[in-house]
């Protein structure tokens, strides 16, 4: 549905997007992750035909964005980072204008506008001026504009930015809902959002794709050993040797000790569940078991690992390829 091949965008000497290739199948939601300035917005603007790429091709809904821009744009809905609202129009007028320039005939216009307003729940502000809306409403009016002409492809640049938690949930639901008959690319900073809504993730850093996979696979791939966090009250004893002796445990580290209780991170071999054994050991030793929970490598950790590069090597002229995903869960280094 969307096929991007070797797209590069240069602004003079600055390469904003460098040889990006990916594809999204029909009906899928693709999450676009990356730190600020990674090239997410640039890639999206290229896909929507706002700006041309320096090199490469992008095919959206079967049409080449550079060769047949009008056809491609007809099938694309775009919500830019700042919703493109005319502040002096009411929401209804604005959406009617958007419908008109998207080629929706005057007969169907009213109905489409009402439909889009209902889906994004902005009906209660239909006759307010766009300039007077709160950030959350602006965002949703922008979204209404993007889905108005029922495009095959939706490109959403941070659709949940500036929304309150309830609206975020509603918007996510809406996006998931739309996924059936639309192909969606969304960019975001909020990683759980990707884990919850997207079927696949692209992590982009300094204009280059550093990882493409499903959220589950990404966390899996970088997870390595499994870690269990354990909080015990050892009644003055040292719990470490006893826990290390549990079959399947490969390492125990004491994370902190406070008020007599002791927090430990227990590493185990992959695929072995040592929780029962650990609990039995603690209880049979007469200690108090206060907490036992698996520590999952979150998408945050993956993201930080992939997008944080070694500082001293930065000085080189050519863009550094992203560091190899390390096989540890250590993410204590500064993300900036």
């Amino acid at each position: 549905m969307i096929e991007v091949q070797h797209v590069t965008k240069r602004y003079g000497p600055v390469t904003a997007v460098n040889d990006v290739s990916f594809r999204v199948d029909s009906g899928q939601i693709l999450g676009f992750l990356g730190p600020n300035g990674a090239g997410k917005t640039t890639t999206m603007r290229i896909l929507t035909g706002c700006i041309p790429a320096t090199e490469g091709t992008a095919i959206v809904a079967g049409y080449d964005v550079f060769e047949q821009p009008v056809e491609a744009k007809r099938r694309t809905g775009y919500l830019p980072e700042t919703p493109p609202l005319y502040t002096d129009m009411t929401v209804r007028e604005y959406l009617t204008f958007a419908a008109r320039i998207n080629g929706i005939g005057s007969g169907a216009r009213r109905e489409r506008v009402a439909g889009a307003m209902a889906r994004t729940s902005v009906e209660d502000v239909a006759d307010r001026h766009c300039g007077k809306l709160s950030k959350g409403y602006r965002q949703r009016v922008g979204l209404a504009q993007a889905i108005l002409h029922n495009p095959d492809v939706l490109i959403l640049d941070e659709p949940t930015a500036g929304l309150d938690p309830k609206q975020i949930i509603e918007t996510r639901e809406l996006i998931k809902d739309l996924a059936g008959d639309h192909t969606i690319i969304l960019s975001t900073h909020i990683l759980p959002e990707v884990a919850q809504t997207c079927q696949s993730v692209i992590i982009i850093n300094k204009g280059q794709v550093v990882a493409v996979d499903t959220p589950a696979n990404l966390t899996e791939r970088l997870g390595g050993a499994e870690t269990i966090r354990l909080e015990v009250d050892p009644l003055g004893a040292d719990p470490e040797p006893a826990l290390a002796a549990v079959p399947g445990v490969t390492g125990v580290t004491v994370a902190e000790t406070a008020n007599g209780s002791c927090v430990l991170d227990v590493q185990s071999e992959r695929g072995t569940d040592v929780r029962r054994e650990l609990a039995r050991t603690v209880v049979s030793s007469g200690w108090g078991l206060l907490e036992l929970s698996p520590l999952r490598v979150s998408l945050e950790d993956v993201f930080l690992q992939l997008t944080t590069s070694e500082e001293p090597k930065e000085e080189d002229a050519d863009p550094e390829p992203a560091p190899e995903p390390a096989d540890t869960t250590d993410t204590t280094e500064d993300p900036t």
Partner: protein, 257 residues
């Protein structure tokens, strides 16, 4: 075509929901009205003198003595007012990011530009339309000749359209509407005074080229009641070239992101 009209309609709406359109039309009407009264007084004085046999022409031609200088002055007012009309058209869209809506919609650049041009032209036509009230007064109380007035208005309209095409071009290259307005005014002023460099009758090539470029010189014949294809061609090619450059400017803006 429907896309062009959609943009034009939107532009016109935006002019009228803001105080912009009313301010411009009002300002234009007041200044035109002032010039009208002043030249009317002058004509009345001259014809009274003529009637009392105190010199001056035996009959005062109202077209020659009143409408021609009046339309000439109006052209100067347009020079001041039209940059305000066009300055926001692109600059504002770029500043607020709404240009992305237009660029990601199934429109061509030419359609967007023609739409904006027609929108501004429609407002300008309304501005000119309001001044017809004064002309109607002339027809009620006097007997001016219709022909030269019509050709004069045609000339003004074409000149205004040329000003708008320059204004659009400059607005498309700027993100700040103040800057766009000031630069447009400067450029239009240059097109006006460019012929002051030399006298074309001196036979110098530079002087006659510069005189040909002058946007106001071409208006002269229109105000006399002459519709010369030379001047028509000048204005039409001026407008076309201005819009063509605007397309190029928007295109290059996209490349630069």
């Amino acid at each position: 075509m429907s896309n062009i009209l959609a943009i034009a309609h939107k532009e016109l709406r935006q002019y009228f929901v803001s105080p912009m359109a009313y301010a411009l039309i009002g300002l234009f009407a007041i200044i035109y009205g002032w010039f009208f009264i002043v030249s009317l007084n002058f004509v009345v004085r001259v014809s009274m003198q003529a009637g009392m046999g105190m010199g001056g022409p035996p009959t005062v031609n109202i077209n020659e003595y009143m409408m021609r200088p009046l339309l000439g002055n109006t052209a100067v007012v347009m020079l001041l007012v039209l940059p305000m009309l066009t300055s926001r058209s692109y600059a504002e869209e770029k500043r607020s990011g709404t240009i992305e809506l237009l660029l990601s919609s199934p429109l061509t650049e030419l359609q967007i530009i023609l739409g904006k041009f027609l929108g501004a032209l429609a407002l300008f036509t309304a501005m000119l339309g309001v001044t017809l009230v004064h002309v109607a007064v002339l027809f009620i109380y006097g007997e001016p000749e219709l022909g030269p007035i019509l050709s004069g208005y045609l000339g003004l309209w074409l000149m205004g359209a040329s000003f708008i095409s320059v204004g659009l071009l400059i607005s498309s290259a700027s993100r700040n509407q103040m800057v766009a307005g000031v630069v447009t005014f400067g450029v239009l002023l240059m097109f006006w005074v460019v012929s002051w460099m030399g006298d074309p009758s001196s036979g110098s090539t530079t002087a006659s080229v510069l005189a040909y470029l002058s946007i106001l010189d071409h208006f002269e014949d229109f105000s006399k009641g002459v519709i010369d294809t030379k001047h028509l061609a000048y204005y039409i090619s001026f407008i076309t070239f201005g819009l063509f450059l605007t397309v190029k400017s928007v295109d290059s803006e996209r490349w630069r992101g």
